[in-house]
């Protein structure tokens, strides 16, 4: 069988490209041929992904379309008679970007408006979470499935936390919907009322230099010298951040999946999170999830997790168990079933 993958953009650290690369490795193990194509390609990954303009599939080739952004050039793919599987990685609602980066807001808005066209134009529309699959159904997809993110375990292990003040961690792009500003507020309350020497580490690439400067300004005002911003770090450095963290706190308002939760589970870091988007199903019972917007409550939860070893151990145990549901072998079965369903549905049609 020949299976081609189509992406709007491909880059070396991009989450969607990473998934496509893992898919390709699996396809190779299953004896599938095919190539991966993208409209825009970062030169650092040019060897693995081919330019979309050279895309010319045979009629029976299966097409896996990864959808995560406005992709006008991929529309033509929908007109092809090939069996098609859509993998939806989610598009952030535009409202989070209008005030900060209108161009991105326009792209997000178009990306969500264009989604029904893709959802209806394929044989099977799959979300990487039930939340995403729900959006596909709302967009008019006839058949939906869930193919969770294929999570490859970090090549570093959990270690005993070094002695020292507690470290609160969040990993995710510095964007308005990830609410690093609220986390800085909650952290500041925690420092004032519970642990004066606590540290906060925020890892992620900023949306814009101006937005990063706003967050840095807020941190300097509320918790001077206690917040560290890190971007452009290597995998090894990222794993180091998890190994040093006492608790991972995610106050994000929109998440299609939230891979950092699984990374935190891998490193036995207890998680406190807001129930947004795919967070609830990814976290399962392995995180403390609350929709209460009182930052003082978040501060008290951080204190509770840091000071209660029994609670921390139970969360770590459940986190490790949770990772089992996202093991590559488990998810690979779902991916294979989706491809089989697409070819079967196409043959029946």
């Amino acid at each position: 069988m020949i299976v081609h993958q189509i992406l709007s953009g491909a880059g070396p650290v991009d989450a969607v490209t990473t998934q496509a690369v893992i898919y390709r490795d699996l396809f190779g193990k299953w004896g599938f041929g095919g190539e991966d194509y993208a409209v825009s390609i970062d030169p650092r990954i040019a060897g693995r992904v081919r330019p979309f303009k050279s895309f010319d599939p045979a009629p029976d080739d299966v097409l896996v379309i990864h959808y995560s952004a406005y992709a006008p050039k991929l529309r033509g793919v929908l007109e092809l008679a090939n069996p098609k599987l859509l993998v939806y990685h989610n598009v952030t609602p535009a409202r989070w970007f209008w005030d900060y980066e209108p161009t991105i807001a326009v792209h997000c808005s178009l990306g969500r408006r264009q989604l029904p066209e893709f959802a209806k134009g394929v044989d099977l529309a799959a979300g990487v979470s039930r939340f995403n699959a729900g959006e596909l159904a709302e967009a008019g997809a006839q058949r939906t499935a869930v193919i969770p993110i294929l999570f490859t375990r970090p090549d570093a292990a959990a270690v005993d936390r070094p002695d020292g003040p507690p470290t609160i961690l969040f990993v995710g792009r510095l964007t308005p919907h990830k609410r690093q500003d609220e986390l800085i507020g909650a952290f500041s309350l925690y420092r004032r009322h519970r642990q004066a020497d606590a540290r906060l580490v925020l890892v992620g690439e900023p949306l814009t230099p101006a937005y990063a400067a706003s967050l840095v300004g807020l941190a300097d005002r509320l918790a001077p010298g206690a917040v560290t911003f890190r971007s452009g770090i290597s995998r090894e450095e990222l794993w180091g951040c998890y190994q040093e963290a006492s608790v991972f706190v995610c106050l994000s308002e929109h998440e299609g999946f939230c891979i950092p939760l699984l990374e935190a589970f891998h490193f036995d870091v207890p998680v406190i999170a807001r129930p947004s988007g795919g967070v609830v199903e990814v976290a399962g019972d392995a995180a403390i999830v609350t929709g209460d917007r009182d930052l003082a409550l978040t501060a008290e939860l951080i204190h509770l997790v840091v000071s209660d070893s029994e609670l921390r151990e139970e969360l770590a145990r459940r986190g490790r168990a949770r990772l089992g549901d996202y093991a590559v072998d488990e998810v690979a079965v779902k991916l294979r079933a989706a491809i089989d369903e697409v070819t079967r549905a196409h043959a029946d049609a």
Partner: protein, 158 residues
């Protein structure tokens, strides 16, 4: 403690802390505030694309010949750039028109909502006033009946 008990425990602890005067900060200004949006007047002004030819200059020392070359280039490409500016202006002007319409409709909806809320408020006040009036009448009636009963029970009291 089990994770399921954590939120309730944190809430209880927070209540105790607050009762002792902790966590009393005013959190106003504790979030990143979005930058101020351009006003509708500014947007209207920007909608018409009119490049300022006076700005086509070289700021280098002895830049006069460079300015002259730039202006010649602008002149030579004016057919293309004028088309570009007119297309962009057309889009902008139509968008501003739509925005104006939406603004008016929103104002109208808000106005009607205000009317409805006022009408609802008036109705509720009337209901309350009616209920209050009914209660007072009932009180008066009860008082009259009581006095009447009292009169009957002790006819010789006066």
């Amino acid at each position: 403690m089990k994770p399921e008990q954590a939120v309730a425990a944190a809430r209880s602890s927070l209540e105790r802390e607050r009762a002792d005067g902790s966590y009393s900060e005013d959190l106003e200004g504790w979030r990143v505030q979005p930058p101020e949006r351009p006003s509708t007047d500014s947007l209207l002004e920007w909608a018409i694309i009119e490049p300022d030819m006076d700005l086509v200059v070289s700021t280098r020392r002895w830049g006069a010949p460079i300015s002259a070359v730039k202006r010649v280039l602008v002149h030579l490409t004016r057919q293309y750039t004028a088309q570009l500016a007119s297309q962009q202006t057309r889009v902008n002007v139509h968008l501003m028109g739509r925005l104006g319409e939406l603004d008016e409709r929103l104002a109208d909806v808000n106005h009607r909502l205000g009317d409805l809320e006022n009408a609802e408020l008036g109705r509720r006040i009337a209901e309350l006033e009616g209920a209050e009036l009914g209660r007072r009448i009932a009180d008066l009636e009860d008082a009259d009946i009581g006095r009447g009963i009292g009169d009957v029970e002790s006819p010789g009291r006066e």
